[in-house]
């Protein structure tokens, strides 16, 4: 799974671990968009926030929330974005920036892709569904519905909604019939 270090992008712009002004974020944002452009369809770009000490609301909005809103609008095709952030404090303003735009994002903690959570506001139903899909690999709506205790139609509606938010993706498993769903961090 392609992964970039946020600090490397900041250093390229002569910025340090403490960012920043909205105008500085505006200068950095094209690099994030470029990185999204370079990944393959169905891939998830992970932005690693290691070594970042401070990030303001405005900077988070310019560099993560706005590029994500373009991604969700389909400007980059069928691609996904996630962040790797160990420091909880960095998530506060990022989450507020996501909430203002009605966005959600997967957050990884530590090495690997096992420990994840969802940043941003999501209804309890959608959160529960996203978490269940994340804990199961490649699950169909038919398998999900009874586990959630809802009808197949209601389950289908939820997975469509989560797909639009770029939290899950539709896949086809070789040798198996029908469409399945998995967390965007599951592949690769």
């Amino acid at each position: 799974m392609p992964e970039i270090k946020f600090i490397d992008i900041l250093r390229k712009h002569k910025l340090g671990a403490r960012v920043g002004l909205r105008t500085e974020g505006h200068q950095v944002a094209p690099d994030i968009e470029d990185a999204l452009r370079r990944i393959q369809e169905m891939e998830t770009l992970i932005i690693d926030f290691a070594d970042i000490e401070v990030m303001s609301h405005s900077f988070a909005d310019e560099t993560i929330a706005i590029p994500l809103s373009r991604l969700v609008a389909g400007e980059h095709g069928e691609k996904y974005l996630a962040v790797r952030i160990d420091k909880d404090e960095l998530c506060v303003d990022l989450e507020n920036a996501l909430n203002k735009r009605g966005l959600v994002l997967l957050r990884l903690r530590g090495a690997g892709n096992r420990h994840w959570s969802i940043l941003g506001t999501l209804s309890d139903e959608l959160r529960k569904t996203a978490e269940l899909i994340g804990n199961l690999r490649a699950v169909s709506a038919g398998d999900l519905a009874p586990r959630l205790g809802i009808s197949l139609q209601a389950c289908s509606n939820r997975v469509v909604e989560l797909g639009k938010k770029r939290l899950i993706q539709r896949i086809r498993v070789e040798g198996e019939r029908g469409v399945k769903y998995e967390n965007v961090l599951a592949t690769g």
Binding site: L21, R22, S56, H57, K100
Partner: protein
């Protein structure tokens, strides 16, 4: 007399609403950064109003020294006369102090980064300033200083907003004040037709700004001041946002108090964060 936000409001009232052309600081025994930010902004504002202001400087040599160290006389240069010479103060070598970051001017956004770095460097050395406070002050400065150039004079790229910032660390608290002479929060907010002047007086405009409303049509904008409030509250601090003819004080427990003052241009923000005893 102490020169703080409250006493400065009385001086603003006497000079702006009244006819006094004298700012009398002779009996001043203590100065806070919130007071000096308002004092400098007031002198500049009155000059633009074609008023000739005389400032009676404090009799206390300690206070004179503090004002000099805080760069106040330098920032007042050309905006008022003094009742006695201040030259001897300016020839005196400034004793560097790590508790005060003197008045810094900000008229263009590219000056903001230098001011933030300077404030950070000053705070870094102290045991009573933990990383939570450091990080919060940086975030507060990012959001408030960029607002000066962005909102102080929206649409007028050549306007000078007279942005100022100063910081004072005491044993038990940290005080940060930021101010400008721009158009203020109400005029900035109501430039968006979604927020008409008829519904947004100065109080409502400030309350809207700290709740995430913005003049920008982009729904994602406007969270800056809201994030400042949340960050300061998390440190059990409070802040006061003064714009137009009111000041809204937001306490750590989210209680708000509105104080009515005389009309004054721009926006002034005072932040107070308690420090743990080291």
């Amino acid at each position: 007399m102490e020169l703080n936000a409250l006493s400065a409001e009385q001086i603003i009232k006497d000079t702006c609403a009244g006819s006094s052309n004298t700012i009398d600081l002779t009996k001043c025994t203590f100065v806070e950064v919130s007071g000096i930010i308002r004092l400098v902004l007031l002198a500049r504002h009155l000059t633009f109003e074609k008023r000739s202001i005389q400032m009676m400087i404090p009799q206390s040599e300690d206070v004179q020294g503090y004002l000099e160290r805080a760069n106040v006389f330098n920032e007042l240069k050309g905006y008022c006369t003094f009742n006695e010479s201040i030259e001897h103060l300016q020839h005196r070598e400034r004793n560097p102090t790590s508790t005060l970051v003197e008045l810094r001017s900000l008229d263009e956004e590219n000056q903001a980064r230098a001011i933030i770095d300077c404030f950070s460097t000053s705070l870094k050395a102290h045991k009573s300033i933990n990383s939570d406070i450091m990080d919060t002050i940086d975030k507060v400065l990012f959001e408030t200083l960029q607002n000066i150039s962005e909102h102080a004079n929206p649409g007028d790229f050549f306007a000078v907003s007279h942005g100022l910032a100063a910081l004072q660390r005491y044993k038990k608290k940290l005080c940060l004040s930021i101010g400008d002479l721009g158009v203020g929060i109400r005029k900035s907010l109501t430039s968006n037709p979604k927020y008409p002047e008829s519904r947004y007086d100065h109080t409502e405009a400030i309350k809207a700004a700290i709740s995430g409303y913005s003049r920008h049509a982009d729904i994602g904008r406007g969270g800056g001041l809201m994030s400042v409030v949340a960050a300061i509250q998390k440190l059990d601090g409070w802040l006061k946002v003064r714009s137009g003819d009111v000041a809204v004080t937001i306490a750590a427990n989210d209680q708000q108090r509105v104080d009515q003052y005389v009309l004054f241009p721009g926006t002034q923000i005072d932040i107070n964060v308690p420090l743990l005893q080291s």
